[in-house]
Amino acid sequence: MSQAEVAPPAPTVSAPKAAPVSTTVAAPVMEPVMEPMAASMVAGVRPQTAAGFLALFRNEITLTFRRTRTIALLGLLAALPVLLGVVVKIQTGNLHGGPGGPAFIAQVTQNGLFLVFAAITVALPVFLPMTVGVVAGDSIAGEAATGTLRYLLVAPAGRTRLLAAKFAAAMAFCWAATLAVALSALATGAALFPMGGMTLLSGDTIGLGGALLRAVLIAGVVALSLAGLVAIGLFVSTLTGSGIAAMATTVGLVILVQILDSLPQLQAIQPWLFTDHWLTFADLLREPMYWDGVLHNLGLQALYLAVFGSAAWARLTSRDITA
């Protein structure tokens, strides 16, 4: 089809099969149209583009990090390693020989790099999942509560696409949250303790560069191991029109599961709890790296993601949006 047949200069917004509304629409009582509309003002079917499809994902992630709440949560997470480092620095004498306490704490005084792993170990059971629960729990329910959900859906964002964008944004938050803990710990460790080559759990020693690489790897694994929780949070978020209720439920679930995971009587179900293999990341501090536990954890997260992701999808795509 030759372009010559197209009367106006080919408008960038018009679709290949554009069916622009004719300017001769019978509109009684209305004044006649003065002049032909500009190309950009022609209504009709526009094609969906890949860039247009992905725009929501980018916007969603940007939006997540523009919320004061998100910044506050990240700030809280970043404060944790500082607190931990200061406490370790002050209490150095008491920590030696004491049997309890989180892993890696004893090593921190020798090598500030260990503060990264110690901080992640402290943050992972409660603080990290709590912040993730807030972000994931609020994702759909928060939009429903403010009424913006209906405008996103009539835009039309597409319910599946919106859910995928929310998941992407929540995972981006997991990554940022882990990074906030790790970077803050690294800075604190460097400021308060000596840095250098690191003695691994297996007894081998690696250089500073190698140790930093492991820290990056572990941060990635930890972020991914929150995927199951994100899926649960999204599902809870599709159930209610109240952001607060969804956040509280998700955070409550984390606490409940952590309690269940600590009861010896429940050993039968514990391997299936999404929190059970979280601390396997420590296996990556061996030489060679021991991947079984980590892969098991990631597999379990994938299972949770499949189950609760499907549930969230089924719920959101069939739900009446009355808010």
């Binding site: 917004v13 004719s22 629409v25 019978a26 009709g44 725009a55 929501l56 939006l63 859906l153």
Partner: protein, 346 residues
Amino acid sequence: MTQSPVVESIDSVDTEETPVGGPATAAGPTRADSPAVIRTQGLTKRFAGGQLAVDGLDLTVPRGSVFGFLGPNGSGKTTTIRMLMGLIAPTSGVATVLGASMPQSVGSVLPRVGALIEGPALYGFLSGRDNLVRYDCADPTADPRTRARRVSEALDRVGLTAAAGKKARAYSLGMKQRLGLAAALLQPRELLVLDEPTNGLDPQGMREIRALIRELAGEGTTVFLSSHLLDEIEQVCTHAAVMSKGRLLVQGTVRELAARAQGRLVVRTPDAARAAEVLAARGVSDIRVAESRVDGEPATAGDDPLPGLCAALVEAGVRVSGFGVERGTLEDAFVALTGEGFDVAG
């Protein structure tokens, strides 16, 4: 990729035939030359609680019309709009928007529809401009390269350019309403669904929005407007429908609807009691007497025209200082139809 220069012929009967086209029974006074932009057949919504919100709605909105959607609170207007926009699924019946059934075709239909539903909803922590960017991003057919221009044009169109950088939470209700309207105008639309668009606006703002609606209609956009302000409907709409308790009472052109409400004969006179007697004798019914004023319904299709009545009054020695018929308004028709009010006719 053929750039076919097909222009949808509005007057063609072919466009009437939609993919899902059920029996094209012209429910309501549809103009034959304008295919429906919205058509519902037996549209029904029963909520989980058993409450019947919309009951067997047969609605036809002709292309190019400005369609007023009226009804008391709780009459099912918003539920209908939500079904048309694919937000809630009908219990039974069919809703067709721009020729495709909803909610199955939201992805292809809604990019051509702008909507303001139950007031604006905004992200308070974002500026007005960023709110529009957000909604524009949600539309997968929106070209990211031209986004900034689209947003600026929409802001300009509703007169918010100066306040575009302000956080939306600092906006007044009227500004929020304008921003919601701007979101509906991000793209050229074939259909605009506006739920109470002048809510919260001052009289000047109302006038501006009405002018904007007229302008959009002049460009060929069909406007589906719900409002509780009857004079607003009368001012801007070509067609109207009235809902009550989930059912459609009537639909048609505004002129037809207003004509349904019979005008009342009003006589201004100091001799009110005497005048009432004369009028009653001449077949005027439903007579109400007030201080220096009598009004009633003149006998319909009677042979006795108004001048005859006036002459009779004068003959009887009634001092007439004013005599005339007050035109029926849409409000009268509305009150008569919904039974909301004392004076129920028909």
